[in-house]
Symmetry: C2
Subunit: 343 residues, 2 copies
C-alpha cells in the first residue's frame, strides 16, 4: 500500500447502508495502518454506527456530511439532477478534489457510473467507461470487462476495453504481458458478430498479448489460462449473472442432497469441514468489488447486497488500485497507443 | 409416443461417431417399441458396430449408406457445396422425403444448421432458425433460445423466437400459457439495448404470457419460475457456455477439497451416495439435445462430445417432439400471429 492513501466511503449506499459499510471499512482500517477513511453520509447516523462499533476518535477517520441518499431504483438522470448532496455524489467529489484517492460505493450501479463520469470525466482517448471485475477460475482467477456499463459496444470500444484492462491486470497481478481473449460464440475466425470480428483485427494489429477468441467456458474453466477477457457489457453482464445463478443452483442442489434424510444429514456433519474449504475457494464475497475503468479517478462498485466480508473486499481492491495508480497508468498507455496510431 | 415414429441418426457425427451414436440409439429402440431407426453413414462401419452391440436383424432398423462425413471443423459453406453425400446431409434428406420424422446429429453445429435450413426450408413467416434447449433450474428446468444460431437478432427476430419457443414449451411441458422472459442486464424498462427494448414492446402487445425482462441469474436460479427465456444467439451461447464453465469449476473445486488429504478422501467415500444423487440432479448429459426451431422438420443437435447417456437423451427429445409435431404447431401459430397483425 502507498503511504497514507485515503478512501471515501459512500456510507449510505447499498441494501444495508452503514450497517455494512462502517464495520467493513473499520476492519480495513485495522488491517492497514496507512489507510485513512472519509465516511460520507448522514453525520448523526454515521456517528451512531461508529460508536456502536466501539470506535474511538481517530485521526485516520473523517466524517463528511451529505444530506441525501441515492435509492437503489433511482434513475441515473434523476440522481444527476436532483441528488447533488447525496453520499454517493459527495464521495466522488472528494476524489475529484484530491481529498480522497478513491471512492467505494455499494449504491445503484447506473447512478454511480453516471455520477462518476459526470464528476471525474473520462481519460482523454477513452470514449466510454467500462466495469471490470475478477471471476474465480480453475487457473486462479480471470479479469473480465465490460460487465454492464455499455451495450452495443463497437469494435473500437472493445479495443479500448482491452487496452485499459491489460493495464489493470499488469499492475494488479504483476504480469508483464497479460493474455487477452475476446469473448465469442466459437474460436474460429468466421464466428461471431461484426463488432467482434473487427475488434479481433484491432487486437491482432496491436502489441497487446491477444490470444484470439474464447468461449463462455473460458470465464471460469477454459482449456488455457486467460488473464483478461474482453466483451460488450450486455454479454458480460448476462454471463456474470448466469454464472451467479449456476453457482446458486448448484449450492441448492448440494444442500437438497444433504438434507434428504437423517443419514444424509449425518453425512453433512462429517463433510462440513471439506465443504467449507470448498466454499472458501469460490466464495463470491471474496470477488466482490468492480472497478470503473476509463475515469480520471478510482471508483470501486461493491455489490448492493454485500455483507461485511464482501464490502471489506471492495475496500481492499480500492487500496490496491490506489497503490498502483491505475488511472494514471491507463492514461499514459492510451496516449502511447494514440501516438502509435498517428504514425 | 406416436405409433411408429422413425428417426434418422447421423451415425458418423460427433467426436465419437458410431461408437456412441449406435449403442445410444439401440438403447432408445429398446425403451420404445414404437420407435424405428435409420442409421445413416458408412454401411460397413455401421454393420460392424451393430454386430459388436450383439444386434440381430430387425424390421425396426434400416441402414442408409452415405459415403461422406462432415468434420467438426468443416465450414458450413464447404459442407453445402462438397459434402452432398455426407451422413448429415442424407439424414436430413430423409426428413424432407418423409422417410424419417426427425433427424438427430452430434455433428458440427454450423454445418447442421446450414444443411437443415437448405434442405428443409423455413416455416413461412419465420426469418431465421433458432436453437432451443433446456437448462436445469431451481424450479426444475427452463427453456432458452436462441443458443447460437443467430448473432445480431432484431426485435422482430426475438419476437419470432418467443412465438416458436412458447409453442414448443406448451407442447413439451403441457403448460397452457408458459411464462416468457426477455434476457436483459436489468429488470427496469430503461435497461438494455434497442433490440431488447423494442422486442419488449412486441411481446407486451402480443397474447404471449410475457413477464418482462429477466437477468442472467434467471437461467438457473431466478426469483420466480420462468418457463421460457428469449435472447439473441450471441448472448445465449455465451451464457450457456459460461454456465458450463461455472459448473465445471465448481466440480473441480469440490474434487480438490475431497482430495486434500487422507481424512478428506475417507469423507468422500461416506459422502459418495449423496454426491451422486446431487450430480444426477444437474447432470448435463440429461440436458443434452437442442432443437432447431423454425424449420419444416425436426432436427435435434446433440453435443459433439456426447457419451451414450447424453446422445440417448437427444434421441428421446426427438421422440417427444415427433409425438407433438412441433413444426406443424409452430407453423399454425405463426400463421395465426401473422393474420392478427394484418387486422
Amino acid at each position: 500500500m502507498s503511504i497514507g492513501s485515503t478512501i471515501a466511503i459512500d456510507a449510505m449506499g447499498g441494501d444495508f447502508g452503514p450497517e455494512v459499510t462502517i464495520p467493513a471499512s473499520l476492519q480495513c482500517l485495522k488491517d492497514n495502518v496507512n489507510l485513512r477513511l472519509i465516511f460520507v453520509g448522514n453525520e448523526t447516523v454515521i456517528r451512531e454506527h461508529l460508536e456502536a462499533q466501539g470506535h474511538k476518535d481517530s485521526k485516520r477517520i473523517r466524517i463528511q456530511h451529505a444530506s441525501q441518499k441515492v435509492e437503489m431504483d433511482d434513475s441515473p438522470a434523476k440522481v444527476l439532477r436532483t441528488k447533488k448532496d447525496s453520499s454517493m455524489r459527495v464521495a466522488i467529489n472528494l476524489v475529484r478534489s484530491g481529498e480522497a484517492d478513491a471512492c467505494v460505493s455499494a449504491g445503484n450501479t447506473g447512478a454511480l457510473m453516471a455520477t462518476a463520469r459526470f464528476v471525474l470525466k473520462m481519460i482523454p482517448g477513452i470514449d466510454r467507461p467500462a466495469i471490470i471485475s475478477t471471476l474465480p477460475s480453475v487457473f486462479g482467477h480471470t479479469h473480465v470487462l465490460d460487465l454492464g456499463a455499455n451495450v452495443d459496444s463497437s469494435a473500437e470500444h472493445l479495443f479500448q476495453f482491452g487496452v485499459m484492462g491489460s493495464e489493470l491486470v499488469k499492475a494488479i497481478d504483476g504480469i508483464d504481458h497479460p493474455t487477452l481473449g475476446l469473448l465469442n460464440i466459437g474460436e474460429e475466425d468466421m464466428k461471431g458478430n461484426e463488432q467482434v470480428k473487427m475488434a479481433a483485427q484491432l487486437f491482432e494489429n496491436s502489441d497487446l498479448n491477444y490470444i484470439g477468441f474464447v468461449e463462455g467456458t473460458a470465464l471460469n474453466a477454459g482449456s488455457t489460462k486467460v488473464d483478461l477477457i474482453v466483451t460488450d457489457g450486455f454479454v458480460g453482464n448476462v454471463a456474470l449473472k448466469a454464472i451467479e445463478g449456476a453457482a446458486k443452483m448448484i449450492g441448492y442442489a448440494l444442500k437438497e442432497a444433504f438434507n434428504k434424510n437423517l443419514l444424509t444429514k449425518l453425512t453433512a456433519l462429517v463433510v462440513m469441514p471439506v465443504l467449507s474449504n470448498f466454499k472458501q475457494r469460490i466464495d463470491p464475497r471474496l470477488y466482490n468489488g468492480a472497478t470503473f475503468l476509463g475515469l480520471r479517478g478510482t471508483v470501486i462498485k461493491s455489490h448492493g447486497g454485500a455483507d461485511v466480508v464482501a464490502f471489506a473486499n471492495a475496500v481492499k481492491i480500492a487500496e490496491v488500485e490506489i497503490a498502483q495508480d491505475i488511472p494514471k497508468k491507463i492514461s499514459e498507455r492510451v496516449q502511447q497507443v494514440l501516438a502509435e496510431r498517428k504514425h
